[in-house]
């Protein structure tokens, strides 16, 4: 019997570690953006490396959890939901890594006038992701709290959209090359996607949590 519980405990730890990695990924992303804006190239590249490593680790952990859940037929009612949530989280983490990679490859020119807005944008997008992760943790243990986190994510997502719109309006009204303007829009779009993806996860989370008791 204790072996039974030991295995479950191991799985609980793995899911928690996975969610820790998503949080860590968000923090690294935010730091990476800051370094890019401040032209600290070496630090930026290090953050990119860190983020890619985190992404790989998260992938491995997720696969592991998936295999255990299915081979041991645990939580038969909820495993589809749990795996769906984890896979969508993975996608969000991929977006963060892809965005940093694009900055590293394309080296878009972001004028100083946009610095604070981009900092705010990444801050707000990552707040979405962090609250999503907290929401998922609550889904496992404290289902009543899920609703609060979903509301927070919806709020931050709207904030992110506002900031992104502001950046794009400013960029397209500046006296720059069109290519420069489009490049800024492109970077904005990618950072904004983190918030969009977080909102998608939360929609799923809201339904999954209803299914648990209703």
């Amino acid at each position: 019997m204790s072996l039974f519980f030991k295995k479950t405990l191991q799985l609980e730890t793995q899911i928690d570690e996975y969610l820790d990695l998503v949080i860590k990924g968000g923090l690294v992303f935010r730091q990476g953006i800051k370094c890019y804006l401040d032209h600290q190239t070496e630090e930026f590249e290090n953050y990119l490396k860190d983020l890619r490593r985190i992404e790989e680790q998260a992938d491995d952990l997720r696969r592991n959890v998936e295999i255990i859940l299915y081979t041991r037929t645990l939580i038969p009612e909820a495993r589809g939901d749990v795996l769906g949530l984890m896979e969508s989280c993975d996608k969000a983490l991929n977006i963060t890594a892809e965005t940093l990679l694009e900055l590293s490859v394309e080296i878009p020119n972001i004028p100083l006038t946009h610095r604070q807005d981009f900092l705010d944008l990444s801050e707000s997008s990552i707040a979405c992701l962090e609250n999503t992760v907290s929401g998922i943790r609550s889904y496992f243990k404290n289902i009543d709290a899920v609703r609060d986190y979903v509301t927070k994510v919806q709020f931050y997502k709207k904030e992110t959209n506002k900031i992104a719109e502001k950046i794009k309006r400013l960029a397209f009204r500046a006296d720059d090359e069109l290519s420069q303007k489009i490049h800024i829009r492109y970077v904005t779009f990618h950072i904004e996607r983190i918030a969009e993806q977080s909102e998608d996860i939360c929609d799923r989370l809201a339904i999954s949590s209803i299914k648990r008791f209703e």
Binding site: M1, F4, F5, T8, L11, E12, I15, T73, L74, I75, P76, E77, A78, V82, Y139, F140, K141, N142, I143, D144, R212, F213, E214
Partner: protein
């Protein structure tokens, strides 16, 4: 002794066991399997083992209901009744409808009663009807309350989803195993009870340490038949209940089986009642409840606690119709098969039980407020045909069914003879006092022709106390009386 035909007859009991297992598997492990918490194979193995254990260790000879309804005393009669129930229950299983086997048995026995002209205790019939309402209602309330309680506990204690999964799985297995045990214990009498009087197996002794009685061997066989029923065909009904009636999740599945088990334990357990009374606690009134009907009720209760719209009332209606169809069709099939067995295969379907309205019987009947002035001419007349006696009675007075039943109960010749050797060997202190034993020894050789006569002798000579309204003491008294009747009864059937 028995011959090959006895084995042939007993196959209908085994068939009934198989159909019972197939139909009742859903009640014990249905929710665990449909919610994918326990694999069907695992559930069937655990269920099978516990059903056999329950049958052998806790199975009682014949249920009171069956013995009250009508004594089926010839094996061909038992064969027909078991076959009728088996066919009715199998048909219901084919239609994927969960039914109550006990009620089908009662239906078939009534068929036998009608065929042989035996009186039927109408109280038993009303028990079936009340069970249709009481079982779902009581279990439904339990299911509703347990679900609300568990939901709040899980939310309050913040139990992790994976831990909850573990607890639920363990709960489903434990309650499923317990329910399987009680399924075996309570239903083996329906399956094999009718064959208990026909000694099929010899007792055998293992190394002089313990004896395995013939009844144990018979019940093992019956338990095995139920287990095979679960294994081979149990999945069928599970689908109706688990997917069609209501979508069952692991937690709701656990609540359903727990509610069903608790309800049956609280409202039908004689052991629990005795325990409560012994400890000076108020006892819970015993209500005849059916496992299947309690199970369906528990599902409804949980469904209502969650969302009434999620219950498929069309399927529920079908199940309810099945509850009525099962006993009625079992009765009809019994009647028809008895006709064939008696007239086509020329088998004896019952041994005529002699009745005699003695002066003693008349006095007793009179004391019960039943008018006797018109039947006095029947005094000391012996009847071997129930139908004739019934007609004779009805010719003389307009008796109600209940009155006829009482007269039959009193008039049946059930002879007892006090034997001093049996007294010395089988009655002991402190259950019986020295005085009581001396009285019995002194009356060695005394013969009583009617049960009621013997019982009144026991009370008169203070070998049994008068009932005083204390449930526990009265129960002990009843057991003591049954024991004495068993010891001193002159066996009528010498086949």
């Amino acid at each position: 002794m028995f011959d090959i035909s006895t084995w042939f007859f007993i196959t209908s009991g085994l068939f009934l066991g198989w159909s019972l297992g197939a139909n009742h598997a859903v009640n014990v492990f249905g929710t665990a399997v449909v919610s994918k918490m326990v694999k069907f194979r695992t559930a069937a193995i655990i269920g099978g083992i516990f059903v056999i254990l329950g049958s052998v260790l806790s199975g009682s000879g014949t249920t009171k209901t069956i013995s009250e309804l009508g004594p089926i005393n010839a094996i061909a009669g038992s064969f027909s009744v078991a076959l009728a129930v088996g066919i009715a229950v199998t048909a219901m299983t084919r239609a994927k409808l969960p039914v109550s086997t006990s009620q089908a048995v009662i239906g078939a026995i009534i068929g036998w009663n009608i065929f042989t002209g035996s009186p039927t205790d109408l109280g038993s019939l009303s028990k079936i009807v009340s069970s249709w309402v009481a079982s779902p209602l009581v279990a439904g309330i339990f299911g509703y309350l347990i679900f609300i309680f568990l939901k709040n506990t899980v939310l309050k204690w913040k139990i992790h989803l994976l831990d909850l999964d573990n607890y639920t799985r363990i709960g489903l297995i434990v309650v499923g195993a317990l329910a399987s045990y009680s399924l075996g214990a309570n239903n083996i009498a329906n399956v094999m009870g009718m064959f208990v009087f026909v000694s099929l197996f010899k007792d055998f002794n293992i190394a002089g340490v313990f004896t395995i009685t013939g009844v144990h061997q018979l019940f093992f066989l019956g338990g095995l038949a139920i287990a095979i029923g679960i294994f081979t065909y149990g999945r069928n009904v599970m689908e109706t209940v688990g997917n069609d009636l209501y979508k069952i999740s692991p937690l709701t599945g656990f609540v359903v089986v727990l509610a069903e088990f608790l309800v049956l334990m609280l409202f039908t357990s004689v052991t629990l009642e005795a325990f409560l009374l012994q400890n000076g606690l108020p006892s819970i009134p015993l209500v005849p409840l059916s496992t299947t009907q309690a199970f369906i009720g528990a599902i409804l209760g949980v469904g209502l606690a969650k969302d009434p719209h999620s219950i498929n009332f069309k399927v529920l209606g079908k199940i309810a119709i099945g509850w009525v169809v099962a006993p009625v069709s079992a009765g009809l099939i019994a009647f028809i098969s008895l006709f064939f067995i008696q007239n086509v295969f020329e088998q004896k379907i019952y041994y005529p039980v002699p009745y005699e309205i003695s002066q003693f019987v008349l006095t007793q009947v009179d004391q019960d407020g039943i008018p006797v002035q018109h039947i006095r001419d029947l005094t000391s007349k012996r009847f071997t045909n129930k139908k004739i006696m019934r007609n004779e009675l009805l010719k003389r007075d307009n008796f109600t069914n209940a009155q006829i039943y009482t007269i039959f109960q009193y008039a049946i010749i059930d002879s007892f003879r006090i034997d001093s050797t049996a007294v010395r060997l089988r009655l002991a202190h402190p259950v019986f006092s020295g005085e009581q034993i001396t009285t019995l020894i002194g009356d060695h050789g005394r013969i009583f022709r009617h049960k009621i006569e013997f019982d009144s002798y026991l009370r008169k000579e203070k070998i049994l106390d008068e009932t005083i309204g204390n449930k526990l003491l009265d129960k002990q008294l009843e057991e003591r009386q049954l024991y004495l009747e068993q010891i001193f009864r002159i066996t009528k059937i010498n086949n």
